[in-house]
């Protein structure tokens, strides 16, 4: 099969690799119809995640058709159309029983690596380095899906791939970012980062009852997409974020702040340079500018929801502000399995149409170019969907008509 393989920092190659096979009883093999590039894939692309190995297949947002099932998979049959959640979860362990699927104790065979870095290990993830298990990813024609009896969700035929694909990651992730804010009627939520996950956090915050959402970024087309989702916006290159937020909230600050940025934050020149230098010198692994700012801006007693990905250590963390002002920090990789069904219902009800975030549709063969575009935000790139059978469909525009836009 063809697959997008990692060969080093900003070095990708779509190659012929062996087809996946059933290795465990609860596996399924999925023939991938659509797969997407995630903002967190850029951390791998940019070489910020350790334990990558040459030849690793990337990709953790994918869906397709079940073509083979292991002996213990009784809920799926060949031909089912499924979306696959990015965390791999067994459904049997303490954390799965508690619905904390991204903390599954059994799905990461390389847990010892994660334990060395994090103290304890989280779940195995598709295509996300060896410390999350070393599972082949979904930017390929086929993928082996472990614990297929727990993760994949069947989707109805009347919904297009593009309407349901993001149930695999960015919709539940953005949603959990908003849910962790414990939004009360009348709340104002500030959101750092208007990438794809940030866009879903904006819409989820409104769905969960926020009265105002203020979105922060510097990329004009992303701010524009945020405004289309109902958010007020702050361009941090034009305005001081703290001052703007205080002015908008009468000096009290937003009730909750969501960090939808993570470890590769950009920011005003001075502080960005400081963190970039420390990162380059290995004095910190992550650039926490957005997180620091979110903490300083949040109102007393408010909540900081960290859903953007961090992988290591940061410097100058304002713990004093957190403690003195009774802030609550909530965080975690999304427990996607928990959210797939309710969010699928929202899509079916027409509460949200996730296709709004897609700006580019390309062939799987074009993955390296797509990563480069996404990284550099070329051609106003916000979200790329890759399709293995793109060529067969002629050019991309044809596929766009296949979904129904719900207003």
């Amino acid at each position: 099969m063809r697959a997008n393989c990692w060969y080093g920092k900003t070095s990708l190659s779509v190659e012929e690799v062996p087809d996946p096979q059933i290795l465990n009883q609860r596996d399924a093999i999925v023939k991938i119809s659509s797969t997407a590039i995630c903002g967190s894939d850029l951390h791998l692309y940019n070489g910020f995640i350790p334990t990558m190995q040459r030849g690793d297949i990337l990709g953790h947002e994918f869906m397709g058709e079940v073509v083979e099932v292991g002996r213990e998979v009784t809920n799926l049959k060949i031909g089912d159309r499924v979306v696959v959640p990015f965390p791999i979860a067994c459904g049997n362990c303490f954390f799965c029983k508690e619905q904390m699927f991204s903390l599954c104790e059994n799905s990461n065979p390389n847990a010892w690596m994660a334990e060395k870095i994090f103290g304890h290990a989280g779940a195995g993830l598709f295509g996300y380095s060896h410390l999350t298990g070393g599972f082949a990813g979904g930017q390929a024609e086929y993928a082996r899906v472990p614990f297929a009896d727990v993760g994949p969700i069947k989707v109805p035929d009347h919904l297009s791939d593009e309407q349901v694909l993001f149930l695999s990651d960015i919709f539940p992730t953005g949603y959990m970012g908003a849910e962790m804010c414990d939004i009360q009627p009348g709340d104002t939520i500030a959101i750092w980062g208007c990438g794809p996950v940030g866009q879903f956090s904006i819409r989820s915050a409104f769905l969960l009852g926020a009265e105002r959402v203020i979105a922060i970024d510097q990329v004009p087309e992303r701010l524009q997409m945020a405004e289309q989702g109902g958010a007020e916006t702050i361009n941090y290159e034009e305005q001081n974020v703290y001052e703007a937020l205080m002015e908008m909230t009468g000096g009290r600050g937003p009730d909750a702040c969501i960090d939808d940025v993570g470890m590769e934050a950009h920011g005003p020149a001075g502080i960005f340079a400081y963190d970039r230098v420390k990162q380059a010198m290995m004095l910190e692994t992550d650039r926490p500018h957005a997180l620091r700012e979110a903490i300083m801006c949040c109102r007393n007693g408010g909540t900081i929801s960290v859903i953007g990905v961090y992988g290591g250590f940061i410097d100058k963390f304002p713990i004093g502000s957190v403690m003195q002002r009774s802030l609550t920090i909530k965080t975690g990789q999304a427990h996607v399995q928990r959210y797939m069904r309710p969010l699928l219902e929202m899509i079916e009800n027409g509460d949200i149409d996730p296709t709004f975030v897609i700006t580019h549709r390309m062939s799987l063969e074009d993955a390296p170019r797509a990563y480069d575009m996404f990284k550099n935000k070329e051609d106003n790139c916000i979200k790329v969907v890759l399709k293995p059978d793109w060529k067969e469909n002629g050019n991309g525009a044809a596929k766009d008509d296949s979904y129904t836009v719900i207003h």
Binding site: I22, L23, Q25, N106, N110, W112, G133, P146
Partner: protein
Amino acid sequence: MPVNEQRRMLGGRARPGLSNNSAKRLANGLGWFSVGLGLAELLAPETIASISGVSKRRTGLIRLYGLRELAAGIAIFSQKNPREAMWSRVAGDALDLASLGAAATSPDAKVGRVAFATANVLAVTALDVICAMQLTNGTNRGIHAQGTCIVNSTPEEVYQFWRNFENLPRFMRHVDSVEELGDGRSHWKVKGPAGMEVEWDAKIVADVPNEVITWRTLENSDVDHAGAVRFERATGGRGTIVKVNIEYMPVGGVIGATVAKLFGEEPEQQLDDDLRRFKQVLEVGEVVVSDATLLGTGYMEQRPGQPAGADELESAEILPSETATNYRSEGGTVQR
């Protein structure tokens, strides 16, 4: 390689345990404990029965146990290396625990006191096992590893699984097979590097259902090995905490060198990996593999996170689990 050199190498990797002297001191202490408890059981069985919540009708049995304690204490003092006496103490502990378990079900038992007595005996058992293992080890130059995991099953289920030693190869990576010979004895086959195979016979020393199993190799085995596994009910019904201690004592010759190679590098890491697989087998039914870990989970064993080809899969040492048999029985072909 000279034996001393091997010992130095192994010792350097081993986790610090008791020195042989302190093991002997501990044995002496436990010997005095045996004498004291033995005298008390012999002379004041009613008091012992009352303290431990056991029916007063059991005083005859308690006197017998007193004799056993006295004998064990005297044996400890009379031997230069009291390892046999210490192992007999471990066996005695098992008997005590079993008796307490039986006593708890008696209608006139005081359950709280029996539980208190059981906890005390378990604590002493742990000391006895450590001490006996260290003394068996002799030089304290052996490979020692301890590890723990928590499993989402009851102590009864976890104990049952472990007690069937033929299950051990399903999660112990280096163990090829264990054959139960009956009477607590078992025959082990362990894979070494370069196709070497090491075999030994082991026997169960202490076996307290749902609480503890200890085993060791028989006298005159090529390998001197002992292990102990304890099962503790986790709080709030959150499964079972499993605690394992393993000792491999260095022996000379090719077999010694093989065992040293197998376990010398990072014994604790290997035990942790085995316990992770143990948890997987119990909780999800088999050992979980990823593309990267088809050959093992070590750094050097990682292969890329992409599917293996048919020939690579065929030659891969897929971890010993049902996975391997199932894969092979299906011929590894994908029908689509």
